[in-house]
């Protein structure tokens, strides 16, 4: 792609594996220094930081204090913070009446609350340089809803509305906020789905692929291309939007 992020610093949350790692690699390939976050430090996180010439920034993003510390740490180490990719997620599913109250709120507080606190934490750094890019990873289910995913779908829908509102609120400051809504993507989460359904990984891939017009599930990098687009500082006019990467399954609704 034609994105040039040389001299820019990006923070990617939930980056130890799956989609977050793909976003971090993409932004680093475009020239950014990337701070990779996950809830805990791990060999995978350190290895990724080393691979892409970035830094680790572990911390629990559902905790507001931790979000502020993270942003301060990255900006203090690198001198700036230009791009936030809020990719972290926590998902559990259950019929509404069976979903334990604590866990229901943990889904909302991690996905929606965590991103809210992260945005609050990175804003002062973006304001200092007079520009920023915030890319929130929502979900197809935040657009369509899904049975037995009330907490997750509500949190992801909430993220879409947060993005639309912040898009309106911050664009005049050249801080551009958008969302990406992935469909079914080949990540470690699919093994969890396969185990829950009592089938193999190939079977679960095939089942999901049947419902996708392009006839296959997506790769993490096919979501990362959208993150790269929305991190491009030569592109300001996409504001408060949701870019879908789902093989055609929603055909635009956002």
């Amino acid at each position: 792609m034609s994105t040039d992020l040389r001299g820019r610093v990006a923070l990617v949350t939930g980056a130890a594996r799956g989609m977050g790692a793909a976003h971090a690699r993409r932004l680093a390939a475009a020239g950014a220094t990337v701070a990779v976050n996950d809830r805990e430090d791990s060999e995978a996180l350190s290895a990724l930081a080393t691979e892409i010439g970035g830094m680790t920034a572990p911390g629990d993003v559902s905790d507001p204090k931790s979000c502020r510390a993270l942003a301060t740490h990255v900006a203090a180490t690198t001198g700036r913070l230009d791009v936030l990719v809020a990719n972290h997620a926590y998902m559990t599913m259950a019929p509404l009446l069976e979903h334990a109250d604590d866990d229901w709120w943990k889904v909302v507080d991690t996905n929606l609350g965590g991103t809210f606190y992260l945005v609050q934490s990175v804003l002062p750094h973006m304001r200092r340089t007079g520009a920023g890019r915030i890319v929130v990873i929502a979900s197809e289910w935040g657009v369509t809803g899904w049975p037995e995913a009330t907490a997750y779908a509500a949190a992801k829908s909430g993220l879409i509305s947060l993005v639309k509102t912040l898009g309106r609120e911050l664009a005049r400051e050249h801080i551009i906020v958008n969302a990406v809504a992935p469909g079914v993507i080949d990540t470690p989460q699919l093994q969890v789905d396969a185990d829950a359904a009592g089938v193999g990984l190939d079977d679960i891939h095939r089942r999901y692929a049947e419902a996708i017009p392009l006839g296959r599930i997506g790769s993490a990098d096919e979501v990362a291309v959208a993150v790269e687009l929305l991190s491009d500082f030569d592109l300001e006019a996409v504001v408060g939007q949701v870019i879908s990467c789902n093989g055609g399954s929603t055909r635009t609704r956002a």
Binding site: A171, S219, V238, T252
Partner: protein
């Protein structure tokens, strides 16, 4: 013939289309254009895209000269304002034939190539297709129809690997917006979250993304509109 992939851009001589030509050329495409007023550019055919036979002939010549087309961008169009009671039968018909008909004519002429190359089509719609307009009902209806066609064609050809998507630009700084257009008025620009018109290069950036990078997106619309419709 060329070793590079070939793109066809309608309305490529000016405005958004010209910016798309520049972006796709930078990504390694050899670009041929269909345009009503083509100017001196090479590989450009003077065609009214509402004329199916003329489109088919020009596409045939373009294929003979450049090779099979693996990317199509339909950008040809025009804008005019009129209250609904003043939109004549001719004005209505022309608006639909150029925008919706132009897309259909070009899609029909290039689909065999797109299937053979597992290529991609991007239609240029408008924010008015998403949010509706005011005193431009024929334009909003024609652009809205493009969204319906794109969403349907996307699924119809998905099993061939061809992707079909849309960009929906907001008020963009091109000759299509007259100097006295209400869309250029400072009072209007102040209502936009971004406080300025969209640049043609920004629309082209999104088209480039859909053509070259968005391999898991089809039937989608990328809204590039300075925040006009969120």
């Amino acid at each position: 013939m060329t070793d590079q992939p070939v793109a066809l851009v309608t309305g490529g001589a000016s405005g958004i289309g010209a910016a798309v030509v520049e972006a796709l050329t930078a990504r390694g495409y050899t670009v041929g254009c269909l345009d009503l007023n083509p100017g001196p550019a090479e590989n450009t055919w003077a065609v009214d895209v509402s004329d199916a036979d003329a489109v088919a002939r020009a596409v045939g010549q373009l294929q003979d000269r450049l090779g099979p087309v693996s990317a199509v961008v339909t950008s040809a169009g025009y804008y005019e304002m009129a209250p609904v009671s003043d939109i004549s039968e001719d004005a209505w018909r022309r608006m639909l034939r150029v925008h919706l008909g132009g897309l259909v004519n070009v899609a029909r002429a290039t689909l065999p190539d797109l299937i053979a190359t597992r290529g991609s089509l991007v239609a240029v719609a408008s924010e008015l297709a998403v949010g509706g307009g005011d005193e431009d009902a024929h334009y909003a209806a024609a652009k809205g129809a493009i969204l319906g066609l794109v969403r349907s064609l996307a699924v119809e050809v998905a099993d061939t690997g061809v992707r079909v998507n849309c960009v929906a630009p907001g008020p963009t700084d091109t000759p299509l917006l007259a100097p006295d257009s209400p869309w250029r008025a400072p009072e209007y620009l102040q209502t936009l979250p971004l406080r300025r018109l969209t640049a043609p290069s920004e629309v082209a950036r999104c088209v480039e993304y859909l053509v070259c990078d968005a391999t898991f997106s089809t039937g989608d619309v990328v809204n590039v509109n300075s925040g006009a419709v969120i």
